[in-house]
Each structure stands twice: as structure tokens, then as C-alpha cells.
């Protein structure tokens, strides 16, 4: 019996040991080889970088660069992209031209259609770099638009960024419309890139999305507007602060102070302050503070005294934005209200005074 168990255990363990040893040796050999390749690339890099810089500075002899494109293509691409990012103006255009001339852009376009996700991502990120170069854009434009519908999120992001860099308003509208239905992380990453195009987007894409009635699109659009944190040349946001979906109400209240017709939404804002939902009241308090809405002082004072920690803190912070009336209310609450309200009022008051003294 023992011998039988031992035989089975020996066979299983022996196979296991062989596999582990094989993998270990394979890992050691692969690592040694990659170290050697890295060392070779490191040796060639200064020479290639120097040739790239020479070309960017005006040297038209591309013979060494063509040689490197055959022998050290990866290092050449790396050096070219690195210097492309660091340079501006004519030097940058020359490097974009070089990428096109050495057929690098062509090969990136080919790789952007690859089945391999990693190759696709890499190629799309490289196309982003030369996105502002008109001749390269003519080659990559369609590929990038197609990549906006790529199932891989990273590919989508690379394509979206590349399209924003092309400065083509139609493509940017397409990026915006796709981004609003993507997860929040996508909007967080693209918001800064799209911010520069807030004006054309607010004229065309934003109203279309906000009137769509689809809660997902509404949320996405409002999140992007909130992430821009800039004045939004768009009216008609106030009714969204009374949307049946509380998440949309919260975001609409967050965006409301950025809109030109914010004042018209004050009645809605006051109703939100007195509402049942804590998250909506907190967003309303924050909006009232940002808008310095004096008509909300009484409502905010009531919120401070609710005894609910989060609402008290938010309302106190809003009152702290509105001296002297808001500060008087806070002083009063810090003396006579419940411990929660008094603490929130005192904390907000101290912070406001501290920043006032600092200013």
C-alpha cells in the first residue's frame, strides 16, 4: 500500500520538479538574453539619438537613419518619439516627416489593425504622437475613427486622444459622444483633453446628449461638464436638478454654478436643500456656497442644525463662503446648536478665518 502511494507521489512530484526546473532554466536564459539585447540597445542609443537630433536640427542626410531603421528599428522609434515629445515647431514637423519618410507611420497603421491587442495599443499610441501632422493624419484618420469602437478600452483611449490631437472638430464630437457612454475612468482621462474644445462641444454635442433623455448619457455628459470645471456656455441645466434620478440631480447641482443661467435655478436649489435625500442636499449646499447664494442662508442654517454630520458639515462649509451673514449664522450655531451642528459650524468658521487670514 505504502509502496503504491509512494510510486504515485514520486511520479507526480518528479514531473512537477522537472517542470519547475525547466521553467526556471527557461526564465534564466530568457533574462540573460534580454539583458544582452538591452545592453546592445543601450550601446546604440546615443548614436541613434544624435542622428535624430541632427535631422531635427536641419541635417537632411537620412542615410544613417535609414540604416538604423533596418538594424535598430525599436531604438530608433523610441528616440524619435522621445525627441518628438520634447520639441516644438519646425523641428517637430521634421521628425513627423521623418517618421513618414522611413515608413514608420505606415507600419504603425498596419499594426493598428493587428489582432494582437498589445501591438494595436502600441501602434495607436504612436499614431497619437504624430496626430497633429497633416500628411500622417491622412494616413491614420480612418483607422483612428474605427478604433473608437475597439473592444479594448486602452485602444479606444489611445484612438480618442489621437483624434483630439488632430484638432478636427467632427472627430472630436465623435470622441465626446462615445466617451459619455463609457465608464467614468475614460471620462476622467479624456476630460482634460476635451476641455479645450468645450465651446464647440457645448454648441452641438452637449445639448444633444442632455436632451436624449437616456440616464446613462445624461450622467456621462454631466460628469464630463463637472470634470471640466470651467464656465459652460450652455443654458437649461436647472431642470435637470429636479430629475427623478438622484445621481443626475447631484451632478446637475454640481454643474449648475458653472452655467450662465445658474441664478434661475436658485428656487430648485432651495428645494433640493430641503429635500429628503442626503446626497442631493449636500450637493445643493455645495452649489449654494459656490454661487454665494444669499437667499439660501436660512435654508443652509437649517441644514447645519439637522444633526446629520455630513449635511451639517456641507452646509457649514457653504455658509463659511458667505461672510458676513453666513459667518454670523455659524457663530450662532457654534454657541447654541446641538454638539454636531456646533462642531461643524466651529470647524467651518475656523477654516474660513484661517484662509481669510492667509489670503
Amino acid at each position: 500500500m505504502t509502496l503504491a502511494i509512494l510510486s504515485i507521489a514520486l511520479i507526480v512530484t518528479g514531473l512537477y520538479a522537472f517542470l519547475v526546473l525547466y521553467l526556471f532554466l527557461a526564465a534564466v536564459i530568457a533574462r540573460t538574453r534580454s539583458q544582452r539585447q538591452q545592453a546592445e540597445a543601450d550601446r546604440a542609443r546615443p548614436e541613434i539619438a544624435s542622428a535624430v537630433v541632427d535631422f531635427a536640427a536641419g541635417n537632411n542626410d537620412t542615410t544613417p537613419l535609414r540604416r538604423y531603421a533596418k538594424t535598430n528599428r525599436a531604438v530608433l522609434e523610441e528616440c524619435l518619439l522621445q525627441h518628438h515629445a520634447a520639441m516644438r515647431g519646425e523641428s517637430r514637423d521634421r521628425l513627423s516627416e521623418l517618421a513618414l519618410d522611413l515608413a514608420l507611420v505606415h507600419s504603425w497603421c498596419m499594426e493598428a489593425r493587428s489582432e494582437d491587442v498589445l501591438r494595436r495599443r502600441k501602434a495607436l499610441s504612436r499614431l497619437t504622437v504624430v496626430g497633429a501632422h497633416e500628411p500622417s493624419r491622412r494616413l491614420s484618420g480612418e483607422i483612428l475613427l474605427k478604433a473608437l469602437h475597439d473592444s479594448d478600452r486602452e485602444c479606444f483611449l489611445e484612438a480618442a486622444r489621437a483624434l483630439v490631437h488632430t484638432e478636427d472638430v467632427r472627430a472630436i464630437l465623435e470622441v465626446f459622444q462615445t466617451a459619455v457612454s463609457q465608464p467614468r475612468i475614460v471620462r476622467a482621462i479624456l476630460a482634460q483633453e476635451l476641455r479645450a474644445w468645450a465651446l464647440p462641444l457645448c454648441e452641438a454635442a452637449v445639448p444633444k446628449m442632455l436632451r436624449s433623455g437616456d440616464p446613462l448619457l445624461l450622467l456621462g455628459t454631466l460628469e464630463l461638464l463637472a470634470a471640466w470645471e470651467c464656465a459652460i456656455p450652455f443654458t437649461g441645466l436647472a431642470p435637470l436638478a429636479e430629475h427623478p434620478d438622484p445621481a443626475i440631480r447631484v451632478l446637475a447641482l454640481r454643474v449648475l454654478p458653472l452655467a450662465p443661467d445658474a441664478g434661475e435655478g436658485s428656487a430648485i436649489l432651495l428645494r433640493a436643500l430641503d429635500g429628503d435625500r442626503e446626497d442631493v442636499s449636500i450637493a445643493a449646499a455645495s452649489a449654494a456656497g459656490r454661487m454665494k447664494l444669499e437667499s439660501a442662508v436660512v435654508h443652509l442654517d437649517r441644514c447645519v442644525r439637522t444633526g446629520k454630520v455630513a449635511i451639517s458639515r456641507a452646509a457649514a462649509a457653504a455658509l463659511a463662503e458667505m461672510p458676513p451673514l453666513g459667518w454670523e449664522k455659524l457663530e450662532d450655531a457654534s454657541r447654541f446648536a446641538s454638539p454636531v451642528a456646533a462642531s461643524a459650524a466651529l470647524e467651518a468658521l475656523e477654516r474660513a478665518r484661517k484662509s481669510f487670514r492667509g489670503a
Partner: protein
């Protein structure tokens, strides 16, 4: 008739060895599952570094980082400085001092230029009294809370009560976190804000010089693949020791706060969401943004091993109703913890003791002796070696061949000598489990009580 005791002895030993072999095979299976998950994640991973963009994004939710340093030593102060310096758009560090002496408090006041704050501790969780709340005069987001001694869970609950952010991060004092750690950890909450309940980041140490460091690293590697990555494929991820964690504050409050440790709250959240039938997910962050510092001595290694055993077993005992239910959590994760913390060391020790007793009686045949060595030390060594090799196959920056070989070979002394010691430590640890056990939470401080004391 004379052969009956010998037969019983042989059968008992064989059964123990079969159980040990099955346990080793199961750990290897979970580890391989973890490897597969990490390999897939690496392929799907990020091609760009978005940290700088997320740093400025107003869509990234505010985070409160709760720090509980064990003392006021230089290492503890460096730990808090690192947390304050984390790169994030909106984060606040809540430093909870659990019953500090006057000297310790003075050290913290001097280090961060503290002054009494008007913020008071109001919250939903009952805790021992807060004696003072302080803020820093420096332009940093730091809140220091001085409280009566109440243990780790009590300190975590005080931090939870004071946290105003929707997300709460928990950092272990023995772990080094990179400045971008929070920006990596928050990504799952932006990718899937409705479903994500928690995220966890930890990577095994890379730099190792001594045997203690290598043995610790091998243990971390196995936990990295098994407890973390392997279980994450079944959405039953449990944080490995020293992990940097991020959880939704509201979920922890609804789970009545912390009971014993940060580890326990993850078991609690898993069991709570599963029992309520609510969809949720706990994510692992694969990038090396948090690395546990290796122990400097055998004593420290022993303390850490026993600390992990204590945390896990307390969590298992509290959530024993989950055992053998709720999918992978009850069938794989928790039994796996009981196996590695109690059953394996116990069975291995019994097997060696039986063998030691059987040799003078002539009851241990050479096949049985070989089987014993095979099922305990050889399979253990192979599992550790496999963990080293698998790591090299998935990390972005593999180790140098010499370092990899040293790490690989360290698996031999780890299992052929140190393994037995570790088993004895773990068995000894079982007797100390009751020490400092969390008591049923008494209503020490009425919820909403103001600060008791504010010292200058």
C-alpha cells in the same frame, strides 16, 4: 495480533501524508490560477501612465487615509510622512494615536506642528473616548486623533468616524507605498463605481540579502499568487499581509465598522454582500505600488507570521457561519486559511513526531520515510520554487539571473529546516490566540460625544 498497532500506525501516518499531499496540490492549483489571472491582467494592463491625469481629475473621489503607527519612532514618523506625501487630488491622512504617552504625543506635536482642532468625533461606530483632535500648521492635510487605548480595531473605527471622504484607505506601518499608490488603487472605483467595494495592492519584496528576508519573501510570493490573485478570479480576494487597501466608507459603516483588523473587514464585506445577494467586486491592483518591508530578525519574522495567523483565524472564527457556503469564499478562501494557519502545521508536526517515535520501534519503513519527506518538505520546496519562477514570468522587470537563482534556491532551506520551526511557531500561536482578543463592543463613548480633552 502483534501487527495491529504497527498497521494502525502506518495507516494513520499514510492518511496524514495523503492529506498533506492533497493540501499541497490544492495550494499549487490556487497559485496557478493566480498566475493565470495575473498574466491575463498584465496583458490587459495599462499601456500608458494616467496617474498625472487622474491626479488633476475632479472625478476622482476624495479619500481618507487612516494611519495607526505603533509608536512615535523615526520609522513611524516616516510612515506618516509617506502617507501625507501621497500624490492625490483630494486626500486627508487621519493619524490615530492609540493611547500615546505624553512623550509620544509631544514627539508628534513637534514633528507635524500640531494645534488643537475644532473637529470633533461624531460617527456611527462606538469607540473608546477621543481625547483630542489636532491639525497641522503646515500646508498638509493631516488630522491627528489622540484617543484612549483600545486596540487596532477601535483605532480604525475612530478614523472611520472622523473620515469625511467616501473612500477610506488603510496602510500597514510595515509597508512602503509609492507616491502614486492611491492613484492606482482608486482606478477600480472609477472603472466600476457601483460594483467596486474594495481594492487591494501589495507586491512581494524584490531586494533580499539575508535568509530571513528570503524566507519572508517566499511566504509573501505564495500569498501573492494564492490568497490574492488566485482568489480574485472567484471574486473572493482577501488582502495579503501588509496590503494597502481602499474601501467604501459607507459599506464599512453598514458592516458596523472594524471588529479586529483590516483583513477581517474584507471577509465581512464578502460575506455580507454574498448573503444579501448584492453584486459587488473586490479588485486587486497588480502594479508594485505597495511593498512590505522585509523583517530584520527572526523574532520579527515570527511576530509577523503569528500576527497574520491571529488576524486570519479571528476573522474565520467570527465568520465561521460562512465556512462551506457562499461559493469560493466558504469553500476555498476560508478553508484555505484554516488549512495553512492550523491544519497543515498540526498535521506536519504530528507526522514528524510519529515518524520519530516509529523509527526506534522499526515501524517506519523506507517507503514510508521517503513518502514523509516527499509530502512535507519536497512538495513545499517545489511550491516555493514554482512561486519564484511564476513571478519572473509575469513581472514587468524580472530579477537579475543571480538574484533569481538565490531566491529559487532559498526554497530548499526554507522547507528543509525553517519549515519545521514555522510549524512550531504557528502551533504555539494557537495558544496565544485569546490574548488581546476583541471584546464585544461596549458602549464606551456615546455616539456624538464631543472631544474630552484638547492639550496644547
Amino acid at each position: 495480533m502483534q501487527d495491529i498497532p504497527r498497521l494502525a500506525f502506518t495507516v494513520a501516518l499514510e492518511l496524514i501524508l495523503i492529506a498533506l499531499l492533497a493540501g499541497m496540490v490544492a495550494s499549487l492549483a490556487v497559485m496557478l490560477k493566480g498566475f493565470e489571472v495575473m498574466r491575463r491582467n498584465r496583458l490587459r494592463g495599462l499601456s500608458r501612465d494616467d496617474a498625472a491625469i487622474l491626479l488633476k481629475s475632479p472625478l476622482a473621489p476624495p479619500v481618507a487615509v487612516i494611519a495607526i503607527p505603533p509608536d512615535a519612532s523615526e520609522e513611524s514618523r516616516r510612515y506618516v510622512h509617506n502617507l501625507v506625501k501621497l500624490h492625490y487630488g483630494s486626500h486627508e491622512v487621519l493619524l490615530v494615536l492609540d493611547g500615546p504617552t505624553d512623550e509620544e504625543l509631544a514627539v508628534w506635536v513637534a514633528e507635524f506642528h500640531l494645534f488643537p482642532s475644532s473637529r470633533a468625533s461624531f460617527g456611527d461606530i462606538q469607540t473608546s473616548p477621543v481625547l483630542g483632535v489636532y491639525e497641522s500648521r503646515d500646508p498638509i492635510h493631516l488630522m491627528v486623533i489622540e484617543k484612549e487605548k483600545g486596540g487596532t480595531a477601535d483605532s480604525l473605527n475612530v478614523g472611520l468616524n472622523l473620515a469625511a471622504a467616501p473612500l477610506v484607505a488603510l496602510a500597514d506601518p510595515s509597508t512602503d507605498v509609492t507616491p502614486f499608490a492611491l492613484l492606482r488603487l482608486v482606478r477600480p472605483f472609477l472603472e466600476d463605481p457601483d460594483l467596486t467595494v474594495g481594492a487591494c495592492a501589495i507586491a512581494p519584496p524584490v531586494e533580499m540579502a539575508s535568509a530571513v528576508e528570503r524566507f519572508h519573501s517566499l511566504g509573501c510570493l505564495r500569498a501573492w499568487f494564492g490568497r490574492r490573485a488566485g482568489l480574485s478570479s472567484w471574486n473572493a480576494l482577501l488582502p495579503a499581509p501588509g496590503a494597502f487597501l481602499l474601501v467604501r466608507r459607507q459599506d464599512v459603516v453598514e458592516a458596523s465598522g472594524f471588529y479586529s483588523s483590516a483583513f477581517e473587514i474584507f471577509v465581512h464585506l464578502h460575506s455580507r454582500f454574498r448573503s444579501l445577494g448584492r453584486p459587488y467586486s473586490v479588485h486587486m491592483v497588480q502594479e508594485a505600488v505597495a511593498i512590505q518591508r522585509p523583517p530584520r530578525s527572526w523574532g520579527e519574522l515570527r511576530q509577523r507570521i503569528l500576527g497574520v495567523q491571529k488576524d486570519t483565524l479571528r476573522a474565520v472564527v467570527r465568520h465561521r457561519a460562512v465556512l462551506f457556503g457562499y461559493g469560493a469564499l466558504g469553500w476555498i478562501a476560508l478553508p484555505g486559511l484554516v488549512w495553512s494557519g492550523v491544519l497543515r502545521p498540526l498535521l506536519e508536526t504530528i507526522a514528524w513526531l510519529l515518524a520519530a517515535a516509529g523509527v526506534p520501534l522499526g515501524w517506519v519503513s523506507w517507503p514510508l520515510a521517503t513518502l514523509l519527506v516527499l509530502c512535507t518538505t519536497v512538495t513545499g520546496t517545489l511550491n516555493s520554487m514554482a512561486a519564484v519562477v511564476l513571478r519572473e514570468l509575469i513581472v514587468e522587470k524580472p530579477s537579475a539571473p543571480a538574484q533569481m537563482t538565490a531566491h529559487f534556491l532559498a526554497a530548499i532551506p526554507e522547507n528543509f529546516g525553517f519549515g519545521l520551526w514555522r510549524d512550531l511557531w504557528l502551533l504555539g500561536g494557537l495558544f496565544a490566540l485569546g490574548d488581546g482578543a476583541p471584546k464585544a463592543r461596549s458602549h464606551v463613548m456615546p455616539v456624538g460625544s464631543p472631544v474630552v480633552r484638547s492639550t496644547q
